[in-house]
Amino acid sequence: MTSRASEIGLSNEARPPAAAYFHVPFCAHRCGYCDFTLIAGRDDLVGDYLRSLDLEIQRSRIPLGTPLATLFFGGGTPTHPEPAEMRRLFEMTRRYFHVSATTEFSVEANPLDLTDEKIDLLTEMGVNRISLGVQSFSQQALKLLERDHCAHDVRDVMARLKSRFENVSLDLIFGVPNQTLPDWKETLERAIELGPSHISTYGLTFEKGTAFWTRRERGDISAVDEELEREQYALAMEQLPAAGYEQYEISNFAKPGFECRHNNVYWNGDEYWAFGPGAARYMNGRRETNIRSVLGWLARLERNESPVADSEELDREHRARELIYLGLRRIRGISRASFYEQTGFELDELCGPSLREQVQLGLLDDDGSYVRLTLEGRFVADRVVMEFL
């Protein structure tokens, strides 16, 4: 599948990427922990956004009808705009790209947005994967996270989605201030009960510039103890596989056959299109990131300027190192053979000593053909991958 495509991908650079990401920067309210690119409470800008997005796609000069293996709408909340606006958005993208029945077509959704009307619309547009921002089943945690739904809403929407979508993913957050291990266990159990095909668990991070950051500085809330956070993560890695969700990435678990193909593109080091404010693309060996300000992005496109704020083209060695950093996120790890095929570097020549050191520390596991994080290594993955950069 995608990994195959990637292995051919590098030797055949002229082929356009088969993955595309669209960023939809609207939310009803900015949650206290969130530092994503979005503008809350400015639904009046949706029209401008759609126009600018059209411009951005046009100017990217994609070959018309480029077939997509995966298509992903993320945010913000792609389900937040009015149904008519959502329709325009999906129709527009389908004018440029070819989406087929085999395309993995994901949309991130907020539980309360999913009215029957919107569910119908998503089905009609060919969406076949829903990623639901559930975060927690505990009322206390949901309140602290400033989410507008409750556990009951999630059960309700899951029931309505079930008949339409075979592939639904739930996002959950641990490490929420005041969240105990039993709290988290309960959230995991409730999620499993609902039987989604995919579950993501994210440790809460305090990002600079968010309300949570300020509140933590003020001593108003505090991060959970490192040891507890570790136990919570460990619990997810124990409980979810036991319920049939195999861990395939640091934060992702799926029933067999339901790994997110789009996200695998990222960890494979494959190329992808991206559009919208703050969106990041990887094309022709270049990584580019659009300006994060929504208004800035709108203005630049209106003025016929490039929305790109940052770009870098890595040399071969750095690209290879980056691939280690990405590849190690996957539980199956890095295959020596495909690493060589993809980068032209032998893994051991590039970083033999670091590799051996991390193996010795018990953080990496090396079976000769694959190198992967050990269970212990997953807890400190950043430290491990840093050694290879």
Partner: protein, 601 residues
């Protein structure tokens, strides 16, 4: 050649901050050496460290012209630093002069370095002109300060000038006093050349620039000269004066102060205090030169990047050309590799040299905590001086551990005598005398171990006396003490560069403080790191740095890839500035924390 009857050579000396450089500004301005447009405050303080810290570090010589009663004079002034660490700069400058302006702040009065610098000038047989400075201040103590000058320094205040360098008051009287009271230089122009090398520096374009004061004879361009101590001969390619920038001239005669460029490339070949003579017509007697300064504190300096070692050597040589008072010798440490053991006159001196090396020479350094020199009497009868704790032999071989003792002179408000005596007692001081300098001020003399004063006594004194106390010290010898070497073990291994020498009675407290400090400085690793302090094999303190239990980025999707990778790269870059010791990375700063832990809180 300027008629030597109309030359006057003098230094400006004072306690720190009493206004030497500001008065020099006025002398430059009023004599026309600089224009109003070129004027800026403390113009002679042109090193970056000097401007940043607002103090003079290097003595600076300038030749100015001044016309009095129709006669043109050449005045060679040397602005000197006031801080105790740079006293060597002062004594070198005095040897190039016949007189000195002794500035005393009209409010602060006589302070410790006023006394020390005045004595140095008296010993050099200079004509001293006392000058009450800062008379523009809203509050002054003119009469009391005059009394202090008479009683403490022992100078007649009959002709004491009253000026303000800052407000430009009384500057003419300064010129007049210099011309009337300081004798013209002696020395015959026809005698064989004798010129004193009183300073030098490395100039990017000219190579080594040698600063000279002509005593007898003369130097002109093209002349072949001979450096008596170095035993080398060179042709004078360029010579000139500082006005204040280097300005070339044809000839320098007796009494004149200037520079010569001889194309010397070998950095070790210039010695401050050397005598320059004519190659063909050599003088039989070199000038007395200078005493070699006694370094007080020593520390290791190691390039972070091992390949910088040779470059560091070169930069140290260049630096020592411009500062004869620090020493360096190659040294190795198991933990830090190849580097240098450097000696300094004090903590400020050490900081300044390190800063200049990093800024002017652009070498990243790891510096170990400073210590004093110890005198060891060994069982086998040998005496050994050790300026590096790593060199201390096994306890069993030591008969006697001797430490340097300083005579310390405090000048402070009388009501603060109690707290100072308490502090000195805590620091193993031996009381000598107290003398009252006036109704409210006193001079207290103690003998204290040098190690108890060089690192932080000055700060302590300032806080005890609300800034009004000052001190001066000189080393008077070694005395036996109950000292031990304290080792530091990081994850079970001795880190030689963290070892230090402590008094046995304080070992446990300092060991605990040091372990605690290191725990703060060394970041957490993927494993636990025990930190221990030990005397021989006995562990006296211990801390543990816990292992990192969780460090993982939760989300790494399309938009996060570059950003998170860069963050990790930056973190990794930071690690490169650390020294790897076994599996443990120790940051630069940690090595200095030995010092902090040795101060009391």
């Amino acid at each position: 050649m300027f008629d030597q009857r109309f030359i006057r050579n003098f230094s400006i000396i004072a306690h720190i901050d009493h206004g030497k450089s500001t008065l020099a500004d006025q002398l430059l301005l009023k004599s026309g050496a600089i224009t109003q447009r070129e004027f800026r405050e403390q113009i002679l303080d042109d090193l970056k460290v000097e401007r940043e810290r607002g103090i003079t570090v290097k003595a600076r010589a300038v030749a100015i012209n001044y016309t009095l009663d129709g006669q043109k004079y050449e005045l060679n002034l040397i602005d000197t630093p006031g801080h105790v660490d740079f006293h060597y700069e002062v004594s070198r400058s005095l040897a190039a002069c016949e007189g000195a302006l002794l500035l005393v702040d009209a409010f602060q009065g006589v302070q410790a370095q006023t006394v020390a610098n005045a004595y140095a000038a008296i010993e050099s047989n200079l004509e001293i002109i006392p000058v009450l400075n800062k008379i523009d201040l809203p509050v002054t103590r003119v009469d009391e300060v005059l009394d202090e000058i008479e009683s403490v320094v022992g100078l007649d205040t009959e002709g004491c000038l009253r000026v303000s360098g800052k407000a430009g008051i009384g500057i003419e009287s300064v010129f007049k006093a210099i011309i009337d009271r300081i004798p013209a230089p002696k020395g015959s122009p026809t005698d064989p050349l004798r010129a004193l090398v009183f300073d030098s520096k490395y100039d990017h374009y000219r190579g080594v620039v040698t600063y000279v004061r002509i005593k007898e004879g003369s130097i002109c361009k093209g002349q072949k000269v001979y450096f008596m101590k170095a035993g080398t001969s060179h042709e004078v390619l360029e010579l000139g004066q500082f006005r204040p920038d280097m300005v070339a001239c044809e000839e320098l005669g007796p009494g004149q102060v200037g520079y010569i460029v001889t194309g010397i490339k070998v950095l070790g070949n210039v010695h401050v205090g050397d005598t320059v003579t004519d190659f063909h017509n050599r003088t039989p007697t070199p000038l007395p030169g200078y005493e070699i300064p006694q370094q007080m504190v020593f520390c290791g300096m190691y390039p972070i990047d091992a390949t910088d070692f040779e470059r560091l050597r070169e930069e140290l040589q260049k630096m020592s050309l411009n500062d004869a008072s620090f020493s360096f010798a190659p040294d190795t440490s198991e933990a830090l590799g190849f580097g240098f053991r450097c000696g300094f006159l004090g903590m400020l001196h050490m900081e300044i040299i390190q800063q200049r090396l990093e800024e002017e020479a652009n070498v990243d350094l790891i510096q170990t905590a400073p210590n004093v020199t110890y005198q060891l009497k060994l069982r086998n009868g040998e005496t050994q001086f050790v300026d590096n704790p790593q060199q201390v032999p096994e306890g069993g071989n030591i008969e006697e551990f001797g430490e340097p003792i300083a005579k310390v002179v405090f000048i402070l408000p009388s009501d603060r005598i109690g707290p100072i005596m308490q502090l000195c007692a805590d620091r193993r001081g031996v009381y000598k005398t107290t003398e009252f300098l006036g109704p409210k001020r006193a001079q207290v003399i103690y003998e204290l171990p040098l190690a108890e004063i060089v690192f932080d006594m000055y700060d302590k004194l300032k806080s005890i006396t609300a800034g009004y106390g000052t001190m001066n010290y000189e080393v008077i010898g070694y005395r036996p003490a109950d000292l031990v070497k304290m080792d530091i073990l990081v994850k079970g291994e001795k880190v030689d560069a963290l070892a230090c020498i402590v008094h046995r009675a304080q070992a446990e407290r300092r060991g605990r403080a040091l372990c605690k400090k290191l725990k703060e400085e060394i970041s957490r690793h993927q494993f636990e790191i025990p930190i221990q302090a030990a005397l021989s094999a006995r562990i006296i303190a211990r801390e543990t740095i816990s292992a990192v239990r969780k460090d993982v980025t939760a989300k790494c999707y399309g938009g996060d890839i570059s950003r998170k990778r860069k963050l990790l790269e930056k973190q990794k870059e930071g690690k490169k500035r650390m020294k790897q010791f076994g599996q443990v990375e120790i940051p630069q700063k940690a090595f200095l924390s030995v010092l902090d832990a040795n101060k009391d809180d």
